[in-house]
């Protein structure tokens, strides 16, 4: 009975007893969720355009962040370093299209997937060669990002909002809005959706696959840069960050590999779910459940919606 009480009743008693901690936990989950959503968005964009699960998305986050900080360390002012980093991400997009995607066109998806492993290790090696393996401090102030915290006295306690987290949420929301507009309302966006539906049909109406791939990889690069800045500001920019990108996997399982809204909603569910789970139920098993709880939540959802929350239900007629 005691164990049942601890699982089914006590967490909710705790939530009622300290609502400030509940709000704080939800906020922490929300911020993590937004950042997971950003990483997942990078995966979704590339998967939609080329059917490739881009394993390199995590290292792209690290590489973008390191490039920005590294260029600043070399003496470039932060805004210039930011622009040059965007240039580097564009160069990577072009290189990936020319050297990896174009020669492998029409190859089985698994070949393309394995090629993204290659890109991952290439970027790790290249990044370590140029910037070294040391963690670097994100140039938060130089990028005019806020620091410090806002403390809200409420519920007999306090809730703390880190200004950088608020900025991360706002920037991520803006970015998602811009991307949604770009893909829904612009010619390129429509072309991308056409490519996502059918490569052959898109080619037949004169859409350049190569151009679309460059655009999509560049967009994923921009998303990676924003994610790198935000995660980097919360801790440091280091190669350990690429592991966090794996947190996007349950988000994708949950939201579907082809859905932008799915990435966002999935990110938020996973982010908030894992924080609530770790905080209220984690101590029952000695803590440290966050790393697998996300997959548990995602697999739970799959029982009811195998295609993910927003994924397309595929019916193949045979």
């Amino acid at each position: 009975m005691d164990i049942l009480y601890k699982i089914l009743i006590d967490p909710f008693v705790q939530m009622g007893a300290a609502p400030d901690l509940l709000v704080q936990t939800v906020w922490e989950g929300l911020v993590s969720g937004v950042l997971y959503a950003l990483i997942a968005l990078g995966f979704v964009l590339i998967f939609k355009a080329s059917g490739v699960f881009n394993f390199a998305q995590g290292i792209m986050v690290v590489f973008a962040g390191l490039t920005l900080v590294g260029l600043h360390e070399m003496g470039l002012p932060a805004p210039i370093a930011l622009l040059v980093t965007l240039g580097v991400m564009f160069f990577i997009a072009v290189a990936v299209e020319r050297v990896v995607l174009r020669p492998l066109v029409n190859q089985p998806d698994i070949i393309l997937f394995m090629a993204t492993f290659g890109i991952t290790y290439l970027l790790i090696g290249f990044g370590e060669l140029i910037f070294g393996g040391n963690p670097k401090r994100m140039i938060t102030e130089e990028l005019y990002l806020p620091s410090g915290a806002i403390e809200w006295k409420a519920f007999g306690g306090f809730v703390q909002f880190q200004k950088i987290d608020v900025a991360a949420a706002v920037i991520a929301a803006l970015m998602i809005a811009v991307l949604a507009f770009f893909f829904q309302k612009t010619r390129i966006g429509r072309a991308l959706r056409a490519v996502a539906d059918s490569h052959k049909a898109a080619l037949s109406v004169g859409i350049s696959l190569n151009q679309i791939w460059v655009i999509v990889w560049f967009t994923a690069g921009i998303v990676a840069l924003v994610t790198g800045i935000m995660w980097g500001a919360r801790s440091d920019v280091s190669f350990a960050l690429q592991v966090i990108a794996l947190k996007a996997l349950p988000v994708l399982i949950l939201g579907g590999f082809t859905s932008v809204p799915g990435a966002i909603v999935g990110g938020l569910i996973i982010g908030i779910g894992e924080k609530i789970g770790e905080f209220y139920w984690g101590p029952l098993v000695g803590g440290g459940i966050e790393s697998w709880l996300a997959y548990f939540i995602a697999l739970g959802f799959l029982l009811f919606r195998p295609q993910g929350l927003f994924g397309e239900k595929i019916i193949e007629r045979i």
Partner: protein, 443 residues
């Protein structure tokens, strides 16, 4: 066959051959081969790089300044492990045949894998202040050494420090002490002793494991800490976990002077990450930081200034760099002892094991090495492979690490019996053979 493919294949084969040849050191008979298992890449590189630099630079300095040890040059070769146990074992297997005289795994996970191999291959493992704490029992683990102190000693020093600040060991009753730790063998090492001490002194121990994947995502853990309100926290962290923990502590208004890291959580970059708010953060230590020691100045003169070091000049003398220097000093002293004991110039693993057991670094010897004030004397013996030496609490002053306490004696009377028992348990669980190696006279 396609000519292009043939040419490409030939070029690849030639390149592979050339590159393999270039990484294999030309080992001469009049050299002593010291492989260094290091990690300059991966998630733990932030901690691994300064240590690797310090280790390499000290040994290189001996080559440059003294022509090696006892007139024999050291052949130093780094093998990149990425703090990955599998890669670490590969490094061991690929270098042991080259005449390695000692191994420094620099990972508790790798150390655990090498424990059975060391006795079979007759090459000692020096897991300096890390690895299996029970390896301090020399009668059970004749090939493993963990001076100057074990994790269990460290945790007991932390408890002594807390007691000192709280007004005595009796004041610990009813206190809440948290352990945030990497959820890996290294991170779990102090749990056993802290658990034991919690029963002895009546404090409550709260554990906060952090998975390697969440090293930079510690939000939930610190929310738990905010809820539990521990009076003190001990941080058994490594790599990217440490700067994040310091940042999170600052963010959650946890008093910095009550957050104490193990010696591996005391990197300059670990503390620097917390900005001004990290001032007051503490970490245990067993050597000084800074460059104002003759030994560090010799490294600067003979290695750094000659462009032989991989370390940026401003990092020489930082805490983890000096950790590497200290580690290599132990290696060098063991080799020197081995030469003295055997009368041989080119010693092997078995000789160095004897040299380690006879290690007796006195104040006078520290002075000769330009290390007065850098470290405390260390003495090992046949039975005691750790020494259970004194440790002090370092404190971050906002710019650098300074000594924040006197040298504190570990609770040897509590720790040693537990280590003996743990060694016995290990022997039973692993059908461990009884020691056959004779004890060095006087050790």
């Amino acid at each position: 066959m396609d000519i292009r493919k043939l040419a490409l294949g030939t070029a690849l084969a030639v390149f592979t051959g050339v590159s393999t040849a270039s990484v294999v050191p030309a080992q001469a008979q009049d050299q002593i081969y010291v492989p260094l298992l290091t990690y300059r890449t991966g998630s733990f590189a932030g901690s691994g790089i300064p240590i690797a630099d310090g280790m390499s630079d000290y040994l290189r300095m001996l080559n440059e300044r003294d022509g090696g040890i006892g007139g024999v040059k050291l052949l130093i070769e780094e093998c990149e492990t990425g703090y990955d146990t599998k890669k670490g074992v590969e490094c061991y297997e690929s270098t042991k045949g080259k005449g390695a005289v000692i191994y420094n795994p620099y990972s508790t996970g790798i150390t655990l894998q090498l424990i059975p191999k060391a006795s079979a291959d007759k090459i000692p493992v020096l897991s300096m202040a890390y690895g299996l704490s029970a390896a301090a029992v020399g009668n059970t683990f004749p090939w493993i050494f963990n001076p100057p102190v074990t994790y269990w000693d460290g945790a007991s020093v932390f408890i002594r420090h807390v007691a000192d600040k709280e007004g005595g060991l009796d004041k610990l009753r009813g206190k809440k002490i948290g352990l945030i730790h990497l959820d890996a063998p290294f991170g779990k090492e102090p749990i056993a002793i802290l658990d034991n001490l919690s029963k002895q002194y009546g404090f409550e121990l709260k554990l906060y494991p952090i998975a390697a994947a969440d090293m930079q995502n510690q939000g939930s853990v610190w929310l738990n800490i905010r809820r539990d309100r521990p009076d003190w926290i001990y941080n058994q962290g490594w790599g990217a976990m440490n700067p994040t923990a310091v940042k999170e502590a600052a963010k959650n208004n946890f008093p910095m002077e009550k957050l104490v890291g193990v010696w591996w959580a005391g990197g300059d970059d670990d503390a620097r990450a917390g900005g001004d708010q990290a001032k007051g953060y503490k970490a245990l230590n067993f050597h000084a930081s800074g460059a104002n020691f003759p030994v560090i100045q010799d490294i600067q003169k003979h290695v750094v200034d000659k462009g032989l070091s991989k370390a940026p000049k401003d990092k020489v003398g930082e805490n983890l760099y000096n950790r590497g220097v200290y580690n290599s000093m132990l290696i060098a002293e063991a080799i020197r002892n081995a030469q003295k004991i055997t009368g041989k110039k080119v010693v092997n693993g078995e000789d160095v094991r004897r040299g380690l057991e006879a290690l007796d670094i006195t104040d006078a010897r520290l002075k000769e090495m330009g290390m007065t004030g850098f470290a405390a004397p260390v003495k090992l013996s046949c039975e005691d492979h750790s020494g259970h030496n004194k440790v002090f609490v370092g404190q971050w002053d906002g710019q650098k690490w300074v000594q924040g306490s006197d040298w504190i004696e570990p609770m040897k009377d509590r720790v040693r019996p537990l280590l003996e028992q743990a060694a016995k348990d290990y022997s039973t669980a692993n059908s461990w053979p009884a020691r056959t190696e004779a004890c060095q006279k006087g050790s």
